[in-house]
């Protein structure tokens, strides 16, 4: 069964690996995530879908150490909350995408480390249904070498 995504328009799952989906301005080439309807750089409304890929480098990071209030819905009870990493990941085209990180250990996160896209089950319903969102984690081997 395919994973249950909170927002299916953010990702493409038909290839060998998941890829982030954004958009690109047909006039000036500026790239957007999530997909935009207008270009805030040149004010054009000619926008095309754009595949952002699945690799990048960590550009900045933090750890979400307290349980956010709603609209965050990752847990129903504060007691179930576990800190999660948050960062901006710089992709090949230069855009930095904000993302949950699969790591939340400040001693293992560093600016510049290679990251790859994955899916993270950020919420589990009472009936066991997992809701997935996009996340970035260290490229296999990169973390161990760090």
């Amino acid at each position: 069964m395919p994973p249950h995504l909170i927002a299916s328009h953010l990702l493409r799952l038909d290839g060998a690996r998941p890829a982030l989906l954004g958009s690109r301005c047909c006039d000036c080439g500026e790239v957007y995530f999530p997909a935009a309807r207008g270009c805030t750089r040149c004010c054009s409304t000619q926008i095309e879908p754009f595949d952002l890929g699945h690799h990048g480098r960590l550009w900045s990071w933090t750890v979400q150490d307290f349980c956010p209030k709603p609209p965050y819905d990752g847990v129903d009870n504060e007691a179930d909350f576990r800190p999660y990493g948050v960062g901006y990941v710089e992709l090949a085209c230069g855009i930095k995408v904000e993302s949950r990180l699969t790591l939340a250990d400040p001693t293992r996160l560093r600016i510049g480390m290679a990251m790859e896209l994955t899916l993270e089950a950020y919420r589990h319903d009472a009936d066991g249904t997992a809701f997935h969102t996009y996340a970035f984690g260290p490229v296999h081997g990169e973390d161990a070498a760090a």
Binding site: A7, G22, W59, V63, G74, V86
Partner: protein
């Protein structure tokens, strides 16, 4: 200048937590004190602008102050609410619309971090649901990158916070009046690393109000007018690193603060080196470091050295957040920008007591920054005393 506008009355309801008193009532308290300071009553007011984020419509203040029929405009500009209200009153007086104007801000927030709704900010629901839509995260992510790019350490964050609480301890109106040691700050609970508990301000309650009139008429009402040499706000440009951004553009652009500061200095005909007392947005100590440079008071990366040398202290070359800033006063969003203006007026009048900047300060500066990328700046000058 003949068309200068002057602040002739200031009033505040102390920031913090006041159980049993609504935000509106705290706003009305501030307006009454400001009118009293100017020797006026509410029926003299010809125009009013004001706002709050979480405590109701400012024009409902008329129910508490008097139903005089005066035009009262509600302002909803987030952290720039006070600055936008002030800029609007200045423009109204300058246009001849009214002789006496009031700018007011107040608020009363629930405890804990703000929880914004994605739709209010043009964002999709998943952004909030998955736990990415927090202002504290943004401040941490911007600070983390800034420390990295400009070779600053966590020590700079500790020093900035320590100075805020030190100044707050000198301010009888401050909410937090206890000095904190460097160790207490550095070892406090992580909130969003690199930022910890004692490096963040808290949402709070309070009210702040100003009474203004044309500078030509100011001496009818006060011996110590303060001239508004600039009061303006700017919004973000494409490419700047802003709160609530699911992505950042490949090519970076300066923050709205940079453009607001430049425009204000140009309008006032002065530069950063001319300013004697400074209030800048310190939602957290990382933002304060960044804002020191974005407003033009130092170079990027110079902050730690300035803090180590005490140059941002009350007796230093760049006295910053002399009343303890948001860190020691808390942040009632609607009132916060006007608190800064009131602190500068108090300093320029020479009435700041234990926290008075020495040497008769003549020019002051205030700066706020907030979601979704707005900044408001004022430059204030001591008027001639009667």
């Amino acid at each position: 200048m003949n068309d200068d506008v002057a602040i002739i009355g200031i009033g505040m309801h102390p920031f913090g937590r006041t159980d049993g008193l609504s935000g509106l009532e705290q706003g009305a308290h501030a307006v009454r004190l400001a009118l009293q300071d100017a020797g006026l009553t509410w029926d003299a007011v010809g125009v009013a602008y004001g706002g709050s984020q979480d405590a109701g419509n400012a024009d409902a203040l008329a129910n508490l102050l008097g139903l005089t029929g005066t035009p009262f405009v509600n302002v909803a500009n987030g952290c720039a609410t006070g600055g936008s209200a002030l800029a609007s009153v200045v423009a109204a007086i300058r246009s001849g619309m009214a002789e006496i104007g009031v700018a007011v801000g107040f608020d009363k927030h629930p405890r804990g971090a703000f929880n914004a709704r994605p739709k209010d900010w043009g964002l999709e629901d998943w952004y909030g649901a998955t736990g990415l839509m927090l202002t504290t995260q943004f401040f941490a992510l911007k600070t983390q990158r800034y420390l990295h790019e400009h070779a600053l350490s966590d020590r700079a964050l500790v020093l900035a916070a320590q100075r805020s609480f030190r100044n707050g301890a000198l301010n009888p109106q401050a909410w937090r009046r206890r000095e904190l040691s460097a160790a207490e700050i550095a070892e406090s609970m992580p909130v969003n690393l690199p930022l910890r508990k004692y490096m963040f301000c808290s949402p709070a309650e309070g009210g702040a109000a100003l009474v203004l009139c044309s500078a030509k008429a100011a001496h009818k009402y006060t011996r110590t007018p303060v001239l508004v040499k600039a009061a303006l706000m700017r919004t973000r440009r494409h490419g700047s690193f802003e709160v609530f951004s699911p992505a950042l553009a490949a090519e970076a652009a300066p923050a709205p603060t940079v453009f607001a500061a430049r425009a204000a200095f140009e309008q006032a005909g002065v530069g950063p080196a001319d300013i004697d007392v400074i209030q800048i947005q310190d939602t957290d100590s990382g933002s304060e470091l960044i804002h020191m440079a974005e407003n033009g008071f130092c170079e990027h990366g110079e902050q730690q050295r300035l803090l180590e040398r005490g140059e941002t202290d009350i007796g230093g070359r760049l006295p910053i957040n002399t009343d303890g800033g948001c860190m020691a006063n808390g942040e009632p969003v609607g009132a916060s920008g006007l608190r800064q203006v009131i602190e500068v007026c108090t300093q320029l009048r020479g009435q700041a007591g234990a926290r008075q900047v020495p040497g008769r300060p003549r020019l002051g500066y205030t700066h706020v920054y907030g979601a979704p990328g707005v900044s408001a700046v004022t430059i204030l000058q001591a008027g001639d005393t009667a």
